[in-house]
């Protein structure tokens, strides 16, 4: 028998899912996370889930894991002391950045720039020069550079980045510097810009490579520990890490290029949502993951998450592929306030966080939050325990929300409803970003809600953007572990290829793709995926010559041979028209070519739940009165654990489970499908 294990480490809980690869049987477990060393929680969870399943850990062959270790290092600014080598004349590349000051006209008055990830005092210059065409303009002065590297060594550098001008066109000087640095700075991990991101634009390439260095030691340590401990428990196991783009990487590759892991956590959520919705029969989705301080949304087409060539964590934006998750700074803990001068109702971006948390938590928080508004309206009944043991204090929530009501001159209930409406509007903005603004009509998509607060807002959002049904999968936490366990191995290799269409030919492009494909396949070969199980595909980044944008075109292997460059050009025109309402009669240009190799998707299915009739009376806990659309409604509270397939729930209704609460609005109905998903539609 052989088993695979999905592991998702969240802020509070670590979720695990063990799958029998032959039968599809599975077991899940939830243990507290251990933030100081997350691997402890993982290992404890492995023991727990193996006990539950009565399985020897030695039978686990694959562990698939989404991690936020890299993300947290960036958010808490606790990464490595990074040294940087640049071309002479470019030492301040991170200091100058793109010269951009946020905040509109006059924004500079209140703008204080954060410190670069590689401090200037640890940045040295190499005497060398590569031209824009990759030619060597001036050779590398090795002796002088050795001196500079020794200086860095004395300063206690923990990771080194080499990023030279035009290295995207020729990385030979960077490679030579790596050899020198290996001698002068032994045991310091070295990242080269020509390997991490061989693309034009010196600031973005340098920043991305520095970010890689910044999180590398902590990720290496973590994955090393985890791999060692797992190996001990399991007698040899392959550890795979979920990358930001939703693909899996070997632990070794992940540790070398950890800048690709910054969105590993959200990518797991999206992967889980895809998997869950697929069981319900939907492959075009808007995912909606609402937590305490923020909300992530993503568009999924044909069961694939949209990707973008950028990852943003806090105020850091790097060029690394990630699932195109947009974040709205609004969550259950977002604070509502009414500025004195304008008397407008604002919600967020300040958040009460987990500590002190919403007023209703009774942990010293007094500010009115979104959660408090839900408590006041009756959407979050006192019965809801929010993860186990918390008693909600309705009176405290009312006191808090009353301050907003007074400032607005509105009744309490209307103010509470207003807070929810404003938040929904913010999220609606995020959903528009991934749909309408990319040329997609949200009415063609189902909305999948998860996260602690997602199912409370999902019905309202479905109504705002007309996305039906709204799907609330069971066990939102374990969903990510499902995502981890069912993700495909993926590897991509890309390179800058700046040519006008008129300067190249179908054959030249095909040749480059052939080379790239070989590289992409090698990594999967190394993972033991036979060539027959690998699915190759191509991407090209294109634009009209002179434009700044890059549009990525997915190309089937046969397409280039059949339609040639003209065919590709026509598809580019179409895409440009779809996005921007016009196409141009201008020269088109290649910028990057990319080959992707993926393993075939795994075919595990969720277990069915017990059948029941339409009547859900057995799951009713008690009646509840709730305020909605400016009036009181009588609703019923249901226990999700007791719902059966086929049950129908007329709105208004509240469905409780351990770590989330689903709200079904008046005029809507919920249906339980064979896998325990709640599907909400207009009645």
């Amino acid at each position: 028998m052989s088993f695979r294990l999905g592991v998702d480490v969240g802020g509070t809980f670590t979720d695990l899912l063990l799958i029998d690869e032959q039968s599809g049987n599975h077991w899940s477990a939830k243990v507290p996370s251990t933030p100081s060393d997350p691997s402890l929680g993982v290992l404890q969870g492995v023991r727990r889930v193996c006990e539950l399943a009565n399985v020897e850990p030695g039978q686990i062959h694959h562990v698939m894991h989404g991690t936020t270790v890299a993300t947290n290092a960036v958010l808490t600014r606790s990464g490595a002391r990074v040294g940087l080598v640049t071309t002479r004349g470019y030492r301040q590349v991170l200091q100058i950045a793109r010269s951009f000051v946020p905040g509109g006209l006059g924004g500079w008055v209140i703008y204080n720039k954060s410190e670069p990830l590689a401090p200037l005092e640890l940045t040295v210059e190499a005497d060398e020069r590569v031209g824009g065409d990759g030619s060597i303009v001036a050779p590398l002065d090795e002796a002088r550079l050795r001196d500079a590297l020794r200086g860095l060594s004395d300063s206690g550098v923990e990771a080194l980045t080499v990023s030279l001008v035009n290295a995207y066109a020729n990385g030979s000087h960077e490679q030579r510097i790596r050899e020198l640095a290996a001698e002068e700075l032994p045991n310091v991990p070295i990242s080269l810009s020509s390997e991490v991101l061989p693309e034009m634009q010196e600031y973005e390439r340098t920043l991305t490579t520095v970010a890689n260095s910044y999180v590398r030691p902590v990720v290496e340590r973590y994955l090393g520990n985890l791999q060692a401990e797992l190996s001990q428990q399991t007698r040899g196991v392959t550890l795979h890490i979920l990358r930001s783009d939703g693909g899996l990487a070997s632990a070794e590759t992940a540790a070398r290029y950890p800048v690709n892991l910054l969105m590993s956590g959200p990518a797991g959520g999206v992967a889980g949502a895809i998997w869950g919705a697929k069981q319900a029969g939907f492959e075009d989705l808007l995912t909606f993951d609402m937590g305490g301080t923020s909300t992530d949304v993503c568009l999924v087409k044909d069961a694939r998450a949209q990707l973008r060539r950028e990852t943003t964590v806090g105020d850091l934006t790097v060029r690394a592929s990630s699932v195109d998750v947009r974040t709205a700074g609004a969550g259950g803990g977002s604070i509502a306030h009414v500025p004195e001068l304008t008397r407008a109702l604002r919600v967020g971006p300040e958040s009460a966080g987990a500590d002190p948390g919403p007023a209703a938590y009774n942990r010293g928080g007094e500010a009115p939050t979104v959660t408090d508004a839900h408590v006041v309206l009756g959407n979050l009944p006192e019965l809801a325990r929010l993860g186990g043991d918390m008693q909600l204090d309705r009176a405290a929530a009312e006191r808090a929300v009353q301050t907003v009501a007074d400032a607005l001159g509105l009744p309490l209930m209307r103010a509470a409803e207003g807070i929810i409406e404003i938040v929904n509007e913010n999220m609606c903005g995020a959903l528009r970003l991934v749909s309408v603004e990319q040329g997609y009509d949200p009415r063609d998509f189902a909305l999948v809600a998860f996260g602690g607060a997602g199912p409370l807002h999902a019905n309202a959002l479905g109504r705002l953007v007309h996305a039906w049904p709204v799907i609330v999968p069971p066990g939102p936490g374990v969903l990510c572990a499902y995502g981890d366990a069912t993700t495909r191995l993926r590897n991509e290799v890309s390179r800058s290829f700046i040519r006008r269409f008129s300067e190249t030919s179908r054959d030249e492009v095909a040749n480059v793709f052939e080379e790239l494909t070989a590289g992409a396949a090698q990594a999967l070969d190394a993972e033991g995926v036979p060539r027959g199980e690998q699915v190759p595909s191509f991407q090209m980044d294109l634009r009209y010559r002179g434009q700044g944008l890059l549009l990525t075109l997915d190309v089937e292997p046969g397409e280039l041979a059949e339609g040639g460059l003209e065919g590709v050009g026509r598809r580019f025109d179409e895409l440009h028209r779809q996005l921007f309402t016009f196409a141009l009669d201008a020269d088109k240009e290649f910028v990057n070519l990319r080959a992707v190799a993926e393993s075939r998707p795994s075919s595990f299915f969720a277990p069915s739940i017990a059948e029941g009739g339409a009547d859900a009376a057995e799951a009713v806990l008690r009646p509840q009165s709730l305020f909605c659309e400016n009036r009181e409604h009588e609703a019923l509270i249901y226990d999700r654990a007791k719902l059966r397939a086929g049950n129908r729930i007329p709105g208004p209704a509240i469905v409780l489970e351990m770590d989330s609460t689903t709200l079904i609005l008046p005029g809507h109905k919920g249906e339980i499908d064979a896998f325990g998903n709640i599907l909400i539609n207009p009645a």
């Binding site: 950045a97 010269s99 006209l105 006059g106 703008y111 200037l120 303009v137 409406e421 434009q547 700044g548």
Partner: protein
């Protein structure tokens, strides 16, 4: 005769009650639409000036033409009163004539697109945007001739015209315009991109109206304007003194050997209203540094600045305009008479921000920022490359952000909203250039408790013969420091010829011939310092020295003594600071690095350039 607005549906909008929640939702939706306009433009425009540097300004206005979201002054009212013709559904207007839109745009390089938004046959809103075209023809590549004496020398000037008439592109007209530009494919795609951005505004506005109904939408916009007016009224009452304050600043020269030019503004409050009076500003220049300053635009600048300084929570729009009265003398540098040349207005435009900062800060010294919004230095390079293809670069550089109450000014950053630099690798890949140095200049930021940002130094090695033009300023006058802070460094331009000779180039010059192998050092200005440098934490000074942003010598301006390892010598520092404090005079609010006469007298010695002669102002047309 004013424009006639043609509507199928003549019913006026009803005034309806809008609850505060709906109001906030509409406000958010409009704000999102305005940012979406930017996003569409950046992604589809072609000229580096727009797509990389973001030299553009969007807005959405209500049916009366008042801006509700955006960042430029409402010109629509003026535009409509000057336009002689019908406005119909499907029309899109284009103009580049500052004299036809009361200076909403201020030189012919800016192309302004206005799209009236109709809902069910009624005019409900406007979307508008303008962007800077890299070239609009005329006597020099880039169309910013320093020595122009009339706007007609500055390229094609497009009066307000319908570029789309009832939804139909007027192709003949477009071809006529493009035929007059050196890089027509850039103008064409940039114009397309601006129109696409305005259509985005239209789509979003129609969605919002569809959701809430036209009456609610219209009433909500009124209320948003009113909300802003109330907030600004409070702010004006709290921050603007009744007794007049006066502030002066200068444009160093006009590029034709004359200068400096004075901009003078007085400000006082009468009840709820604030008056800005530019009486005392120099007459218009015979050259092209004139800045046709739209009064509404100036109100917007002031409003935004006050909001940023005093209460960044306030959402900015046109609502408060009636609370400000702006008086600009006819025939002055800021209200030149047609057909005065306008192309190089960037210097006065930048300087206006320093004037506003000084003027508003005088009454609130703790909120006063130093000078630094002094300019947006332009660099242009054109010629034929090795393949015989025409190339033409227009690039805006940046400098030191001033020291300010909230902290140090960033080094080599932009004061213009949303502007970014052009990646050097992009320049090297698309132009015959190698950028050998791209760094900030140590000690160029004014010393202060909060240090001014450092200037930028960009070293251009030319790989093809060609011509360059430069437009910069603050080479003679200093970016002033405040509250005891010292001025920032002035800008310089040095051309090193491949034959070993070198020359200092003036701050403003056109068609300087460069040869393959020549190297230009383009050095911008530093931001002024804020507060007494002797009060700056010695540890911050040490760190700046360690980072190479301040030199060891420069640390002395802060009274900080360092040992040979660049560590702070605490006792020596204390002593030095005491000694320096005794020597300091009381110091006014502003440190300008000397009176104009002194700067002119020291000019040749300090800058290597001939000092400008006092301006002579003759030669303009008669009034009217």
């Amino acid at each position: 005769m004013p424009a006639r607005i043609v509507q199928r549906n003549q019913a006026p909008f009803e005034n309806v009650e809008v609850d505060p929640i709906t109001l906030d939702i509409i406000e958010n939706a409009l704000r999102n639409a305005r940012f979406e306009m930017d996003a569409v433009l950046f992604r589809t425009a072609m000229s580096p000036g727009i797509r990389e540097q973001h030299d553009e300004f969007p807005m959405i206005a209500n049916a009366d033409g008042k801006m509700v979201v955006g960042q430029f002054g409402s010109f629509i009212h003026g535009f409509m009163s000057a336009y002689n013709g019908d406005v119909e559904e499907g029309d899109i207007f284009l103009t580049s004539d500052p004299y036809s839109c009361q200076g909403a745009i201020s030189h012919a390089n800016d192309w302004l697109v206005l799209l009236p938004i109709y809902f069910e046959g009624r005019l409900a809103s406007y979307g508008a945007m303008f962007g800077h075209m890299t070239d609009v023809g005329g006597k020099v590549p880039g169309s910013l001739p320093t020595d122009a004496r009339q706007i007609h020398e500055e390229g094609i000037v497009i009066p307000p015209v319908k570029i789309y008439r009832r939804g139909e592109l007027q192709e003949d007209l477009l071809e006529l315009i493009l035929h007059n530009c050196r890089l027509p494919h850039w103008n064409r795609s940039d114009l397309n991109a601006i129109v696409a951005a305005c259509r985005t505004a239209e789509r979003r506005v129609l969605e919002i109206i569809g959701r809430f109904g036209p009456d609610t939408y219209n009433s909500a916009l009124e209320e948003l304007l009113e909300r802003n007016r109330r907030a600004m009224q409070e702010l004006i009452r709290k921050t603007i003194p009744e007794q007049p304050q006066t502030f002066e600043d200068y444009i160093c020269d006009d590029g034709m050997g004359m200068g400096p030019y004075k901009i003078r503004c007085s400000m006082w409050r009468e009840g709820d209203r604030v008056i800005f009076d530019f009486d005392g500003t120099d007459p218009q220049s015979v050259g092209s540094i004139n800045f046709l300053l739209n009064e509404e635009m100036f109100k917007m600048f002031c409003g935004v600045f006050m909001i940023m300084v005093f209460d960044p929570q306030i959402l900015f729009n046109d609502g408060f305009y009636e609370l400000m009265d702006v008086r600009i003398p006819e025939g002055s540098l800021l209200k030149p008479r047609k057909p005065a040349a306008l192309s190089c207005r960037t210097h006065a435009l930048g300087r206006i921000f320093d004037v506003i900062g000084g003027l508003i800060g005088m009454g609130n010294p703790e909120m006063l920022c130093a000078a630094g919004f002094s300019d947006s230095p332009h660099f242009m390079y054109s010629g034929y490359d090795d393949n015989g293809e025409w190339f033409q670069l227009y690039q805006i550089s940046f400098g030191g952000v001033p020291g300010k109450p909230s902290g140090d000014g960033p080094d080599g950053h932009s004061l213009w909203p949303s502007f970014t630099n052009v990646p050097n690798e992009f320049l090297e890949s698309y132009f015959p250039l190698r950028i050998e140095v791209y760094e900030t200049i140590p000690d160029s930021g004014g010393a202060g408790n909060h240090r001014g940002g450092n200037a930028l130094r960009q070293g251009y090695r030319f790989l093809a013969d060609g011509e360059i033009s430069i437009h910069d300023d603050r080479w003679l006058t200093y970016p002033w420091g405040v509250n005891g802070g010292l001025p920032g460094a002035r800008s310089t331009k040095l051309l090193q010829r491949s034959d070993g000779t070198s020359e200092v180039l003036p701050s403003k010059c056109d068609r300087v011939v460069v040869r393959k192998g020549d190297l230009l050092y383009f050095n911008t200005w530093g931001g002024g310092g804020w507060g007494d440098p002797l009060k700056r934490d010695p540890e911050s000074v040490r760190r700046d020295v360690e980072r190479g942003l301040v030199s060891r010598e420069g640390a002395k301006r802060y009274g900080v003594a360092l040992d040979s390892n660049n560590q702070v010598k605490a006792e020596a520092t204390q002593k030095l600071r005491k000694k320096m404090a005794r020597r300091q005079d009381g110091g006014g609010l502003f440190n300008r690095g000397g009176e104009i006469a002194e700067l002119v007298a020291r000019c040749r010695e300090e800058t290597g350039l001939t000092p400008p002669a006092p301006p002579s102002f003759g030669g303009g047309p008669a009034t009217g």
